[in-house]
């Protein structure tokens, strides 16, 4: 055991001892109350059992459980002891709320406080103005001492290095230790659950439930309510307002984050509904920067999840057709076949099940081929009212769906990289998949498969004997800039269909596009989708384009926030950031050194900035305005909306400059930059300058 770990363990023991001592010194009432509730629990159980067994001796218990707490007295709260007095007080309270005299007294009090505040403000303002003026004056001395710290800053850094940094390191290391050893946190949570009376509240709640379940004594409800108020009040009175405020703020933050997540998940559900309505091929169009590749990527990510979910739902239905079939055994054999490479796609599953069926029909061995399934008792056929389904047909469908659901491989095949991160949890039985676009990123991640266009070609291939040819069955195909790959009729005018090499006219890509659902259909559902994008639909030949729906992005929308009640924090951020940044760059223009004040301000503002940035990255979204029309372009466009959540699509999913490496290589080889280009000498270009444009037009003018 190393020294740091020993220190952390000692620290944990000390903290535990402090917590226990705190409880002994300051939370004795909580423990007395706990004793009381435990006694009450015992009598409640006795009462419950006696009533259930119809032993009439519960009178004494009734008095015990329904009376107010003897430990926590009612005098400490504003609550009256009887319910009739409570209702009277409630009546008076609401009457007082709208009573003009009461309001007058209240606003007089508010006015007095406001006046006091203004007086303090008036006193402080001249001092502040003076201070700002002095700082500005002292900082107005220009210098070029690059990255040199001023003396006060040096002193602060030295003190911080000696005191603050070691403490910070200790805390950071200790936090890591606690994360690795969560048992300490659990112990502390239990200690505090006892200290803050939480355990008593739970025990009292259960006791009263047991009592109420057999007595239906509504008159005792008020006493229980009073006891609950006393229990909670005990905690609130014990803690300082600052700590209570921090706890309330944390709970408030959690609540609004949960609301924000629900909003984002609702948007995702709407997007899924939108995608479900799309045909197999979809083309996203929009001018540069309209987020068409972002839209395509987002839809493809949602589609992969939808395919897995669809497979899972259909799997459940197949299960119900033969509810007593030992599916787990079948799954395990299928998994083994997948591991050994016996099963690697849908076609191989068909062959595998067909072999199983042939073996069964030849030998009739249900124990081996059907894992001991009792045919005599449960039968081999399922009548769906449409048809009689044979067990082996259902097994084939089940195996295919299971394969789509469990394969630990991306369903995306694309001509640019897309990252996804869904996880399959397998405890040795039925594996479960976790998708969560909005949960924190798991450690596991995977990327889309490289799209070899030959797998989509039914005719000639670029690589004549490409081993992957014909292998593609199901999944999500994503092609960006489809027009550049497939071109349109005008651009293909010179290309011949009977050429020796593969080209857009003889590779039968369009035929594949028209028939792709045949290989991907399982249980009458096509597990295939093709998403493409291009700036204008006409760039892709009409034969293929007519198959798809065109999504025109009209507007990519402004950034919005799903997190509620953030406007005030954002206002403070805007105020702090805008004020600081103008001052900071003015300072940097004048001076090159580092000063203490700027160091502190930058530290504070950067933290505020980072908080705002993280909030927008986690809960920000934009709404794309889309016009959806048929690929034939003869229909009236439908107006649609698509939600792009920042946390889903911008978490290193793809790069918008996916072809940038091509241009980087060209630019690096050229050895010339923007500053090397020639400039015009005057506002009117000279003949020589015009000729330097290498323009077709200018060349025509000068007959070159």
């Amino acid at each position: 055991m190393d020294k740091t770990k020993k220190l952390h363990i000692v620290l944990s023991i000390v903290i535990t001892a402090v917590f226990i001592a705190f409880g002994i010194c300051f939370c004795t009432k909580s423990y007395l109350r706990l004793g009381e509730t435990v006694c009450g629990f015992g009598s409640s159980v006795e009462f419950y059992v006696s009533r259930i067994l119809q032993i009439e001796n519960g009178t004494a218990v009734e008095i015990e459980i329904t009376k107010p707490s003897a430990v926590l007295t009612m005098e400490s709260t504003a609550l009256p002891e009887t319910s009739s007095a409570f209702w009277l007080k409630a009546k008076v309270y609401f009457a007082l709320l709208v009573n003009e005299k009461n309001l007058g007294l209240y606003f007089t009090g508010v006015g007095v406080r406001v006046v006091t505040f203004i007086r303090i403000l008036l006193f402080i303002i001249p001092i502040l103005v003076m201070l700002v003026w002095l700082i500005k004056k002292s900082y107005a001395m220009p210098n070029t001492k690059h990255n040199k710290d001023t003396l006060p800053l040096k002193a602060v850094k030295k003190i911080s290095g000696a005191i603050y940094q070691p403490i910070k390191h200790l805390f950071v290391g200790y936090k890591r230790f606690l994360d690795e050893n969560p048992k300490w946190k659990t112990v502390w949570l239990w200690i505090w659950a006892f200290h803050i009376n939480f355990v008593s509240i739970v025990v009292a709640g259960i006791s009263y439930y047991l009592y109420f379940a057999v007595s239906f004594d509504t008159q005792s409800l008020y006493t229980q309510f009073c006891n609950l108020v006393l229990d909670v009040g005990l905690v609130l009175k014990r803690f300082p307002w600052l700590l209570t405020g921090i706890i309330v703020w944390t709970l408030f933050n959690r609540m609004r984050e949960r609301i924000a997540l629900q909003i984002l998940q609702y948007h995702e559900a709407r997007n899924c509904g939108f995608i479900k309505d799309l045909p197999i091929v979809t083309m996203s169009c929009g001018s540069m920067g309209k987020k068409k590749t972002t839209l395509t990527t987002d839809m493809s990510l949602s589609q992969t999840v939808m395919f897995r979910q669809e497979a899972f739902q259909r799997l459940q239905k197949q299960d119900m057709k033969f509810p007593f079939f030992p599916w787990i055994k079948f799954e395990k054999e299928l998994q083994a076949c997948m591991e050994y490479g016996r099963v690697y796609n849908l076609a191989s599953i068909r062959t595998w099940v067909a072999q199983k069926r042939a073996r069964y029909e030849k030998h009739g061995n249900a124990k081996r081929q059907l894992y001991g399934y009792d045919i005599g008792r449960y039968g081999l056929y399922f009548d769906s009212a449409l048809k009689r389904e044979y067990l082996f047909d259902v097994l084939e469908t089940y195996a295919k769906l299971y394969f789509i659901y469990v394969i630990e491989s991306s369903l995306l095949v694309s001509n640019y990289s897309i990252r996804e991160e869904d996880i399959l949890y397998d405890g040795g039985n039925f594996p479960m998949r976790a998708y969560g676009f909005f949960s924190p990123a798991p450690a596991y991640t995977r990327f889309a498969h490289i799209l070899d266009f030959d797998i989509l070609r039914l005719g000639k291939k670029v690589i004549a004997n490409n081993p992957s040819a014909g292998s593609f069955e199901f999944g999500v195909v994503v092609i960006t800039e489809i027009g550049k790959e497939r071109a349109n009729m005008l651009e293909l005018k010179e290309i011949k269909k009977n050429a020796d090499e593969a080209n857009q006219k003889n590779d039968l890509f369009n035929a594949w596009l028209k028939m792709c659902r045949h290989s991907a259909t399982v249980d009458n559902f096509p597990f295939i989708k093709v998403f493409v994008d291009e700036q204008r639909p006409e760039s892709w030949g009409s034969d293929a384009r007519d198959l798809c729906d065109i999504l025109r992005i009209i507007n990519s929308g402004k950034q919005k926030l799903a997190l509620p009640f953030y406007a005030i924090e954002e206002t403070l951020y805007d105020l702090a950031f805008s004020r600081f940044i103008s001052m900071y760059y003015n300072f940097r223009y004048i001076r090159g050194d580092n000063t203490l004040l700027m160091h502190i301000l930058k530290c504070l503002v950067s933290k505020i900035w980072a908080h705002n940035e993280r909030i927008y990255n986690r809960f920000g979204y934009s709404v794309l305005s889309i016009e959806k029309e048929r690929g034939t372009q003869d229909s009236k466009p439908e107006k649609k909306r698509y939600f792009l959540a920042n946390y889903k699509i911008y978490r290193e999913r793809f790069t918008t400059d996916c072809f940038s490496d091509y241009f980087n290589e060209l630019a690096e080889k050229s050895g010339v930059g923007l500053t090397d280009y020639l400039d015009y000498k005057t506002v009117r270009a000279s003949v020589e300058e015009l000729k330097q444009q290498n323009s077709y037009f200018i060349r025509d003018l000068y007959g070159a």
Binding site: Y106, A567, T571
Partner: protein, 117 residues
């Protein structure tokens, strides 16, 4: 501009929320300020905004019921609730604080008349 408007609205809503919350707390605090016993009310006259009068004596209170003044007998005082009776009819008042009482029946507030008590 829209964003600035939203921020101003948010600040205004926060101020309203704080004022309302403060009002709730202030009012509930007032309800805990009732006197420990009724000696503070002896020989004190309370009137509501219509001039209706409640005048406390040592063991009762004269109450103006419109046509006449009736003498109510105090039978109980507990946690600010003053229970009085006349001819088997119960009257309940709530002692908000030293200077204010409220009649449960009419829901009106009576304020200590200056100079009384």
């Amino acid at each position: 501009m829209k964003k600035a408007g939203k921020k101003i609205l948010a600040v205004m809503l926060l101020m309203i929320f704080v004022l309302l919350f403060g009002c709730f707390v202030y009012t509930s605090n007032r309800l805990t300020g009732y006197p420990k016993d009724l000696t503070d009310y002896e020989r004190v006259v309370f009137t509501d905004k219509d001039g209706t009068m409640v005048a406390f004596t040592e063991d009762g209170a004269w109450y103006d019921v419109g046509d006449e003044m009736i003498l109510l007998e105090i039978i109980d005082y507990f946690e600010g609730v003053i229970t009085m009776e006349r001819n088997d009819t119960e009257y309940r008042f709530f002692a908000v604080d030293r200077d204010t009482i409220s009649d449960e029946g009419t829901n009106s507030f009576f304020v200590r008349r200056s100079g009384s008590g």
